[in-house]
């Protein structure tokens, strides 16, 4: 029997693994991969809540059958679509910046990039 707690605990585990990657890795791309792990963990959590948790609109009208109210159960999935879109744009730009910096400084090490001036 798989319930909401299983999905949310799994999401928390992947989130803290991504956070560990962001905090300890020295390669910039490894930090970005940790950030992507965190995005994915949040998506799993939000979609699990969309499946298992009753939205407030249905708590207020328990006998609603109109489309606008019943569709609210999918709010978590819409949130996940937004997160995926913004994460894709951010990953593309961040990787572009990493490549430009690598061309200028020949290094992808976070500890060498602490000053913006060369």
């Amino acid at each position: 029997m798989v319930g909401l707690e299983h999905f949310l605990t799994l999401s928390a585990i992947i989130f803290v693994i991504g956070l560990y990657g962001v905090l300890t890795k020295r390669n910039v791309i490894a930090v970005l991969m940790g950030i992507e792990l965190m995005f994915n963990a949040v998506n799993v959590a939000v979609v699990a809540m969309s499946k298992y948790v009753v939205p407030q609109a249905l708590v207020n009208n328990p006998a609603a059958t109109g489309e606008e109210l019943v569709n609210k159960v999918l709010t978590g999935q819409v949130f996940a679509v937004m997160v995926i879109t913004v994460a894709a744009a951010e990953a593309a730009l961040a990787l572009g910046i990493v490549i430009v910096i690598y061309r200028m400084r020949q290094t992808a090490d976070v500890s060498e990039m602490s000053l913006m001036k060369h």
Partner: protein
């Protein structure tokens, strides 16, 4: 609130545990491996595991989007960037903060799991909904794409347009990076 009661079955639970353990192992490999190309491939494994979870959560459109965008485009971008910034001697070491980060992350995980297990989630299957409402909800889950489309274009039209602006800003930023001085 399932259309077919599928999450009561043992096969579902077994598949869930297998995919969950594999995803967590892949995530640990992402942050642990020294060779960053292998870490990028483990990240692709995590993306596919998350897509399987979306299918298990009746979010088929989202699973397709996840495979297309994450396991498709973002993974290729990451591998592209890894190959263009190859640092042969260094690899991908950790900095000096390993033990404090491990402590912080352990405490955060404990707090999150405590909150998850002790919260009063308003579960859908415990809510006292009318019979017809339950049938309509099951119908919405079984065919989620029109529901997501209606939500995006009616209730959430403003975030939808703002995401368009974000994508536009990303394109302008990428062009600005390429500008010859």
């Amino acid at each position: 609130m399932s259309p077919s009661g599928i999450e009561q079955s043992g096969v579902f639970t077994a598949v869930w545990w297998i995919v969950a353990v594999m995803s967590v192992i892949a995530a640990i490999l992402v942050v642990h491996l020294t060779d960053i190309l292998k870490a990028a491939l483990a990240l692709v494994g995590v993306f596919l595991g998350v897509a399987v979870f979306f299918v298990m959560l009746n979010a088929e459109l989202l699973a397709a989007i996840q495979v297309l965008i994450y396991a498709g485009a973002i993974s290729i971008l990451i591998i592209f960037a890894v190959l263009l910034t190859r640092d042969i001697q260094q690899g991908n070491p950790s900095n000096k903060l390993r033990v404090p980060a491990l402590l912080l992350v352990g405490i955060l995980l404990a707090v999150l799991v405590f909150v998850v297990l002790n919260s009063e989630w308003g579960l859908l299957r415990e809510a006292q909904l009318a019979q017809e409402t339950q049938a309509r909800v099951a119908e919405v889950y079984s065919n989620s794409t029109p529901g997501i489309a209606r939500l995006l274009l009616r209730d959430f039209v403003l975030p939808f347009e703002m995401v368009s602006v974000v994508l536009f800003a990303a394109v302008v930023g990428a062009l600005a990076l390429l500008r010859e001085r």
